[in-house]
Each structure stands twice: as C-alpha cells, then as structure tokens.
C-alpha cells in the first residue's frame, strides 16, 4: 500500500510558479478572490441585517444608560475613563441575571455571530453552486481560495465593528458632551483590536465548519448552535460553572476555589475575551485573576488604583496570545482539511 501513496508536491514548484506570476504582473490569486468576496459580502442582505443587529445591540443599552453616564461624567469631572463609561456602564437598576446591559457585553455576544455568519458557507457554498471546480481550474493556488475568503470576511467584520463603534463614540461626543482623553482613545482602539481578534477566531471556526460540513444549512445550524451555547452567557457558562464547582469542591481556601473555577471558565474563549475586554475598557481593573478579586480579603480593602494603558495591556497579553493561538489553530485545521479534500463533491 505504501507504494500507492501520492508523492508530496514539490515545494520548489510552487515558489517557481508564484515567481512567474509576479513577473507577469499578475495580482496574487487571493487578492482577486478577497476583492470579489468582499464586494459580495457588502452587497449582501446578510451584511445589512447583521449591521442592524450589531448596531441595535450596541445602541439600545447605551440609550438606557445615557442618564447614568451623564451624571457620572458630571460628578467625577476630570476623572479618568469617563468616556469609556459609554461602553462599560449599563442602566441603573436593570439586571437581567447573567446578561449585563452594557455595550461591552452586547458586543461580546454579537461579535461571534458576525464571525460565523460570514464564514459558515465559505467553501461548501462554492461546492453547492458547483463553482469550486471551475474556480480551482483557474491559475491560482488552492489555498488562495480559503485565504482570500478569510481576508474578505475579516475586512467586512472589521468594517461593521468600526462603523458601529464609531457611531457610539459619536453619540457620546454629541449627546452626552463627553470628550475622550488620548489614553481613552488608545484603550478604545486596543479594545477594537482585541474584539476583531476574537471575531477572527469565530471566523476561522466558521471557515472550518464550511470545509468539514458539506451542506451550508447544516454548518450554519452547527455554527449558530455553538454560538448560542458558548457566546450567550447562559447555558455554556452555567455548565462550565457547575463543572468548576465540582472540580473545586475539595478546595481548602477561597483563593484556591476561585482559581479552579476560573481555570475551567477560561476553557471558553468568551471568558478569555471578556477578561481582556474588561481590563482594556476599565483602568480600575487591576487584576484578571479571580482568586485575587474574590479570594484575597486584603485586596478588597486596598484603595482603588487606576492602571495606565501599558499596564492594562501587559495584564491581558496572555489573553491576546491565547486568542491568537486559537485562531491560528482553527484556521490551520480548516486550511489543512481544505488542501486535502477532493475537488469533486
């Protein structure tokens, strides 16, 4: 049987081919594909529906919280991060259990939806339309297809997120009369960056589904099902919390208990993102460790300190690395599967 194994493609062939492409002044295949996919996305009904969903989910809590933010801004004029309160404060007295009514929380829920929605039919949609063999018979590398589509998805999502958040910032500037300090602008940009990273994880996951699952409708169902389970702070975190409680049952101290529970919680990428997001948007968050927050009695009695941006950033650097690693892993899996798949359905 070993004699029948196909030979590995010669690495030299590929580089030689791309060299000739460069000599001919051709655009690389993935650029053309990304361009076409981006145009398709922006003109699609899907894009506008999602833009409205994300926009509404960000603006509604903001509308309700406006009064509270304004009074806060007046009472602590000159305080750090009053502008960022736009994103982290919810309306007073409104408590929906696990869901907090803030822009930050709503973006955390809606962002993964964007990732799945723009990727779940990336490859199986081409298969279904019968365009994949035709596309692959053009002078492009096979990975140009998946790379181009990923880049296009990422560009569209970034566009949607930046547009929404710009509207929120504009709302803050005009309606509430809060102007951001430079530090706040930097924090905001960093937060958008981490959010895009979090979404790109879901985009990679959606791409993986579109490669592995042959029917677009099935992969959409699986994708949204997992989104419901993981991203909405309800079932997934509940189960994870139970598991954490179970594992932490033998804890001898409060600190040990909380650190075990948090370790389990961090299995969900949503938790990793939530911690990073909190630290970036709120300089008062001085630690992401649950055992320090809840377990250490002395820590609670310490006077509130505010972190500068670089300190906050260092705090969540591991979170960024985790999200990046997950994204790369997910995409690499999709990539490897796609490269080995037969062209025919």
């Amino acid at each position: 049987m070993t004699a029948l194994a196909p030979e590995a493609p010669a690495p030299a062939a590929k580089s030689a081919a791309s060299r000739t492409a460069a000599n001919l002044g051709l655009r690389p295949g993935w650029v053309t594909i990304a361009g076409k996919e981006f145009a398709d996305h922006v003109q699609s009904v899907r894009f506008y529906v999602l833009l409205i969903v994300v926009g509404a989910s960000a603006l509604i809590p903001l509308y309700f919280a406006a009064e509270r933010i304004r009074s806060l801004a007046e009472s602590v004029s000159g305080a750090q991060a009053a502008f960022l309160a736009l994103f982290v404060l919810g309306p007073e007295g409104l408590n929906l259990g696990p869901i907090s009514f803030t822009v930050q929380a709503f973006v955390a829920i809606a962002a993964p939806l964007l990732g799945v929605a723009f990727a779940f039919d990336a490859v199986n949609g081409e298969r279904h339309q019968g365009t994949l063999p035709r596309l692959l018979s053009q002078p492009i590398h096979r990975d140009d297809v998946i790379n181009g589509k990923y880049v296009a998805g990422l560009a569209v999502i970034t566009l949607a997120l930046v547009a929404t958040l710009t509207v929120i910032s504009g709302f803050g500037l005009l309606r509430l009369g809060i102007t951001p300090a430079l530090e706040e602008v930097i924090r905001l940009i960093a937060w958008v960056g981490v959010t895009v990273l979090y979404v790109s994880l879901w985009l990679a996951f959606g791409t993986l589904l579109s490669v592995v699952i042959r029917r677009a409708s099935t992969s959409a169902l699986v994708g949204f099902g997992i989104w419901l389970f993981v991203a909405i702070p309800f079932i997934g975190p509940l189960l994870v919390g139970l598991l954490g409680n179970f594992l932490a049952a033998g804890a001898t101290s409060a600190a040990e208990y909380y650190s075990t529970v948090q370790w389990v919680q961090r299995l969900l990428p949503g938790q990793v993102y939530a911690e990073a997001s909190a630290a970036l948007l709120n300089p008062a968050v001085t630690t992401v460790s649950a055992s320090e927050i809840y377990g250490d009695q002395y820590a609670q009695q310490m006077p509130q300190t505010l972190l500068s941006f670089d300190q906050s950033f260092l705090l969540i650097l591991p979170h960024i690395v985790i999200l990046l690693a997950l994204t790369i892993g997910c995409f690499a899996l999709a990539y490897a599967r796609f490269m080995r798949q037969e062209v025919r359905a």
Partner: protein
C-alpha cells in the same frame, strides 16, 4: 515498523517506474499525453494504467459510463488531484508539479458547471478574467469575444439564476475559452441540454478546433453525440481504456469482422418473432441474430463474413420458403452503441462497469 520496511522496496520500484513513465511522456509531442496514469482511492481503482494521447486539432472523445473514471482522469490532467502512479504531460508540463502552468493554458468545463447566482453572466466571466490576469479594457474585449462565440451576448447581463441549464453550459464554454487556451477539456458538455442546443455546442467545438487548432478532450456517456463530433474515441470502462480509434477503426476492432444487416417483417406477434429468429438463426452465414426491441423494429443480423451479399440472398430465400412477409432488408454500419457494448463485454469488465453506473 516492520510493515514500513516491507513497503520500502515496492515504493522504490514504483518510483523507478514512474521515472520511466515520465521520460516516455516527455518524448511525446502531443498536447495531452499520459503514461500508465493511475489513481486509486483505497481499494477502488478509479483509473488504471491509462495511456492516452490527444493531438492538436482533434476532438478526442472519452466514452464511458458514470463512474468509469473519466472525471478522475480529467482532474489529474489539470493537477486538481494527484495520480497514484504513472505520469501525465499537458502542453509539455507535469500537472502534478506545475499545476499553475497547466491551468494557465487549459480551458476546463467541469461536469455540471456552476456560476455565482447573484452575479450576471458577464460579471462571472469578469471574475474568471481577473483570476487569469486580464483586467480592464482587455478583459471586456475578450469577454465580448467569447460571448459572441457561444451566442450568449443577449443574455449576458441577466443574473445567472435566471439561466437555463443549456445557457449555463454555454457560459461554461465561454468561461473556458476566456484564457485563450491551447487545450480544452470538457466534462460531459452536452448533458441536460436540449437536442438543438447540443447541435449548436458541437458545431461550436468543431469550429474552434478547425479555426484555432485546439486540442479538445471531451468526456461523455452519450454515444450518438460523441460519434457525431469526435475525431477519435477512447472507450473507457472501470478505469481502463479498452479501445481507441476512429469509429470505423473501433467498428473493425469490436464490431466483429462481419457486416450488419437489418431485416424487417410484417405482422409478427411474439410467437412469430421467436419462430422468425429461429429461422434466421439457421440461415447459412449468419453469426448472430439480435431480436428487435419494439413491435415494429427490425431484426439485426451479424454476418460472419465482411461481404453481406450472399447472406442477404440466403435470408431472402429462407424468408420465401418459410412464408415470412419480409418488408425491408438493408446493410447498416454498426453503431457506436453496439461497438461500445461489445467492447465492454469483450474486455470482461461489463459487470463491474454496469454496477458502477
């Protein structure tokens, strides 16, 4: 580990064999040449030691049932799937090692071709043009040119989801022609098209080959169409090429040595047909009697000899002496249909081929 060691020796042999195969195909001047090209999926042999040559300026028809390995062969020629053994050259390039070079110069119409339904025909072609490095005015001019060639100028700006299957097929040919290919590979180009559309498409192919000197490889399971347009035909069954040549050559090879006669009788019921077959079978010089399929269809007699004259006279005499009311008798060419059936049967893989279909 032991199994690995065992596997090493055959692999070395296979590699040596492949090297030889490469040298042989290198020598071929034909735009498409394969040497012992094989593809296996686990235990299933999709393509088995295929030796094939398609010359410039000819239409070569790959004839076979669904699952005979036609599409797999085509995918290997395009570098879209790797051969398990053997070698292929397309325009002097190895598709497994330089797929981009091959795909730059080979137009391909896939089986059941599809287009982006939210775009118009022209927009779809524009995308293909870009992927082939054609932009701007140059691309638009080429698009118009290929649209004229396939007769799709009027509907080019309609959305693809309003197209009929035949229009998609034509747009597919336009798409394949965009890159001004030297080789055209068409997988089932006439499936699901109305008969008039088929004639148009086959005419178009003929014209392209005559005007541009393209080499065309087309696969089909529709015998009549292959017969009408192809210069040479390869009969493909269960991954093997069991016969290659023009229709006449294949007829000589598989049609049996003898000529075919068609004999019609008046007013035969089922019993009469059986009796008539019996009578005809006893006639001297008749090798085989094929029963008519329908009520009014004629019998087909395979003559043992190349010359059908004596056999015809003998049939007439037998009919007269047995009181059979004969109303027609004539010589017929064995159809590709017959040739195909005989070829598949004689190769001893008919059972498998039919199962795969």
């Amino acid at each position: 580990m032991a199994s690995r060691k065992e596997g090493d020796a055959p692999r070395r042999v296979a590699r040596k064999g492949r090297q030889r195969d490469r040298e042989v195909v290198e020598e071929s001047r034909a735009p498409i040449a394969t040497r012992r090209l094989s593809k296996r999926y686990g235990d299933l042999v999709a393509v088995d030691n295929l030796n094939l040559e398609v010359q410039a300026g000819e239409i070569f028809g790959l004839l076979g049932q669904n699952g005979a390995g036609k599409t797999t062969t085509i995918l290997m020629l395009l570098g879209l799937t790797e051969p398990s053994a053997g070698a292929a050259r397309v325009l002097g390039l190895d598709p497994a090692r330089n797929p981009l070079g091959v795909k730059r110069r080979v137009g391909y119409l896939p089986d059941n071709v599809g287009f982006y339904e939210n775009l118009t025909g022209r927009e779809n072609l524009r995308y293909t043009a870009r992927l082939n490095g054609l932009y701007g005015r140059e691309a638009e001019a080429t698009i118009v040119e290929v649209l004229v060639q396939v007769g799709m100028t009027e509907r080019a700006d309609g959305r693809v989801d309003t197209y009929s299957r035949g229009m998609l097929q034509r747009l597919g040919i336009a798409d394949a022609l965009l890159k001004s290919p030297s080789v055209l590979i068409l997988d089932e180009p006439t499936t699901a098209i109305d008969p008039l559309g088929v004639v148009e498409i086959l005419d178009l192919l003929r014209r392209l080959v005559d005007e541009r000197g393209l080499a065309v490889l087309l696969s089909s399971h529709l015998l009549a169409q292959v017969q009408s347009v192809c210069d040479r035909i390869g009969i493909f069954a269960a991954g093997k090429l069991i016969g290659v040549g023009t229709v006449a050559e294949l007829a000589r090879q598989f049609g049996g040595a003898g000529a075919h006669i068609e004999v019609g009788f008046e007013g035969l019921d089922a019993a009469g047909r059986t009796k008539t077959a019996e009578v005809l079978g006893k006639v001297e010089g008749i090798a085989e009697v094929r029963l008519p399929t329908g009520e009014r269809d004629p019998f087909v007699l395979v003559v043992a000899d190349e010359d059908s004259g004596p056999a015809r006279e003998a049939v007439l005499a037998a009919a007269a002496s047995n009181g059979l009311r004969l109303n027609s008798i004539r010589d017929v060419q064995p159809s590709l249909d017959d040739i195909y059936r005989i070829a598949v049967r004689s190769s001893g893989i008919a059972e498998h081929g039919e199962v795969a279909a």
